[in-house]
């Protein structure tokens, strides 16, 4: 028998020849990425439907008239202030999350704990703001399936556009879409906070210290940043455009 290795038996060394991870990423992390991709499709479908409905309507509530209060402080004339605060809180909690991941790379348990706690607090602050925002809109009469009374609706539109009927119908579409989309996003924030709490407890218990890697912090970090990413789009399409 010849000892020469036939070409087919030669060991290939490309990343895809087996024996190593071609993307150089742990299984759970890559699955998190694919989950987030599917979630991106869900949110896009919601936002694109909103866009299509809004585009085909002759009138639409004006963002700076619907969102012009800071609940509990300023009743009128402060458009974007409150949502600006919410955006700042969420970006800030995204930063504390990356700082937790960065501390995890250095196996600095104490720092991970503090940054994770800061992230959880940021999440709760955002949820609190969203609850106030919802309560405020609800008190004005907006909800799934209901709008403010016809004579009050004028306040929410640019002056002189539409009739009572068109204003009523599009205000209803606006309310349904707003509560559904921000609600779905808020639900993601809520689950994100729960997951962050679980991970924080695990860090406290030393689970990842024993494991020798804080990769789990990175994975939940991906989810948390995704929530921030979605908010960037929700913010633009509901509050700015």
């Amino acid at each position: 028998m010849s000892t020469a290795v036939s070409q087919i038996d030669e060991i290939k060394t490309t990343p895809w020849s087996g024996g190593r991870s071609p993307f150089n990423v742990e299984y759970g992390k890559i699955m998190m990425w694919f989950f987030l991709l599917s979630d991106a499709f869900t949110f896009s479908s919601l936002l694109i439907s909103y866009g299509a409905l809004r585009f085909s309507a002759s009138v639409w509530p004006a963002a700076d008239k619907v969102f012009q209060s800071v609940p509990g402080m300023i009743e009128h004339g402060a458009p974007l202030v409150f949502v600006g605060l919410m955006t700042f809180i969420l970006i800030m909690s995204s930063v504390t999350m990356v700082l937790a991941v960065e501390a995890g790379h250095r196996n600095a348990k104490k720092e991970v704990i503090w940054w994770m706690i800061a992230t959880v607090i940021g999440g709760f602050m955002f949820l609190g703001c969203q609850a106030l925002e919802w309560a405020h809109l609800h008190s004005e009469g907006f909800w799934w399936g209901s709008t403010p009374p016809l004579h009050e609706l004028k306040e929410f539109f640019t002056e002189g556009v539409g009739t009572d009927t068109t204003r009523h119908l599009t205000a209803q579409e606006f309310a349904n879409l707003f509560f559904t989309i921000t609600g779905f996003h808020g639900f993601h924030v809520f689950t994100g906070v729960i997951i962050n709490i679980i991970i924080t407890v695990n860090v406290l218990l030393g689970t990842y210290e024993k494991r020798g890697s804080y990769l789990m912090v990175e994975k939940v970090g991906l989810y948390w940043h995704f929530v921030d990413l979605v908010w960037v789009f929700v913010f633009t399409f509901f509050y700015l455009v």
Partner: protein, 115 residues
Amino acid sequence: MSADSQEVHHEEGEHETMTRKKIWKVFFILLAVTCVEFFIALILVPGGHMNIKYANPVYIVLTLFKAFYIVAYFMHLKFEKLGLALSIIVPILFIIGLILVLTNESHHWIDLRSY
């Protein structure tokens, strides 16, 4: 099994990553872009310096800019293998398809709607 793959990750994942300085830099970029959006929405548009027609595309471009920074740096995709980055980004093209289809569809809805 999982311990193995985590080691692999550690060996090669370390050479380029986020430092604390970079994290704060990205934060200030995101903050600055948001401030620009506020400036347009609160001062330029109400003051009549900018038509809302032109403001909307600007908002969308700025939003995509922010999205890039979040995904590339906070979500670390810029430092992953190209294959992984592509397997996440390429499917996003389907979303562009949906945007085109539904924008086109909504042109017809305008005629169908009585309001």
